[in-house]
Symmetry: C2
Subunit: 293 residues, 2 copies
Amino acid sequence: MQLSEIGETGLLAELERRGLVLGIENDAAELAGGLVVTQDALVEGVHFRLDWTSWRDLGYKAAAVNLSDLAASGAQPEALLVTLAVPGATLLADVVQLYEGLSEPGVPIRGGDVASAPRATLSVTAVGRSKRVPGRSGARPGDALVVTGPLGGSAAGYLALAEAIATPLRDAHRRPPLRLREGQLLASTAHALMDLSDGLVSDAERIAARSGCKLVIELERVPIVDGVKEVAERVGRDVWDLVCGFGEDYELLAAVGDAPFPTIGWCEAGAGVELRLQGEHHEVSRWRHFGDA
Amino acid sequence: MQLSEIGETGLLAELERRGLVLGIENDAAELAGGLVVTQDALVEGVHFRLDWTSWRDLGYKAAAVNLSDLAASGAQPEALLVTLAVPGATLLADVVQLYEGLSEPGVPIRGGDVASAPRATLSVTAVGRSKRVPGRSGARPGDALVVTGPLGGSAAGYLALAEAIATPLRDAHRRPPLRLREGQLLASTAHALMDLSDGLVSDAERIAARSGCKLVIELERVPIVDGVKEVAERVGRDVWDLVCGFGEDYELLAAVGDAPFPTIGWCEAGAGVELRLQGEHHEVSRWRHFGDA
């Protein structure tokens, strides 16, 4: 069986079933002493294109993506480790820009490595400490679902870059938000908490599966980044595909008793995720990992 | 200026000079509470070839390389995080073998991610705790230099694979040693401690530069893996190139007051590294990162 047949989630589930990895589906590993560690890799041609992003923006995004996992754990970041693999012909000035972008969120880069590789690959580890990591398994019927900000900007920015549409949303794809403070606030009370990296539907499904309940989302309550509707119209896609099916929003999704952020739905008895629009069931298309590799 | 002109060490020095990274030359980042974190990436075609290694050996090596950095910090490992990027056509059975290899040293895999990529890339973060991290800057005149085991096996194994020479040394390249216990023992008293990943000469130069002293190594005292001389003869290279200039030995090198392991030289006033063979100055050739990219 090939990975493209089972997808990213299927692979992780299989590795977990065999006892080869523990809790790999979580945003970050929680170790003794409140320590939280997360790691991600960005590969040229898969996660970024050097003709679409500056080196500085790439660095910023690589840091932000990992810090988002710490935010989803309610953690205060302490350090980044960065391993960069690039062709030997890469310019020093570009690499300096990359590290300036990585440094922008203000978390010190305390280690890592450099190596040569035919395509640029950037691996970032973020380390922080958290008083409480809600995880994904505690959502319960009656909880409100909240998000920390508007969605769809990254999808619209990606499409704008792909279709050469001029819009400031390109930056929404290149420079995701940092929700560290919101994460710490939510972590103190939330029953479940995660960051939206794979799209609202896919990520909500993870909470539903781990918590053993059903998540209902009313689409008209989901905040949308300004300009996303216009891009969806330009490319002839349902706006909800962009808002719920793309990912890389890096806002936080939480199941809470009391809602300190905009409520987009609720948890109830059952399984899976249901999207409703004006009271009717609504389907969205999703982007998939491994699907196009 | 291109990275191939300044090399890995030059790039790291430049990033450090600009304040963009802190202590990136160390084997691992040392954080509050004795926490030690290290990260490395292995890229197909650069660090490994899938026709030379099994997926299981690749996993073992990826774990061992990072655990070696923890060993050089005197740390007890607590967890690994693994990010794997591979083509979608990769077989699930191969990925399972990879994770079995990663699990072999007995340190739980507690997180990470999977993604698609045109070439296999494996990023591993290792987290541990140490009572004392000697670092590289404390060697002083009068110290003895010790190594925890024989060198040259990885270089000979690499050449055996490249030149199709049948020898059990191929495994020395594919399955480096784990020196965690030796690292903890040395860390309690050593003035400087690191692992031999880039070759005895390059690595000793790092201790010399950071400590502000000269390291003298008597080659006839350096332990050599059985069979390395024969491979060197077969390929027409000086055996000391293999023992001192290749790297990936993953033994530990320490500057100590009392020597619990074989002594190969000493520290004295001055700078740099001098190799001596039968009392005469000896030069070796080195492999370089970025040099052939």
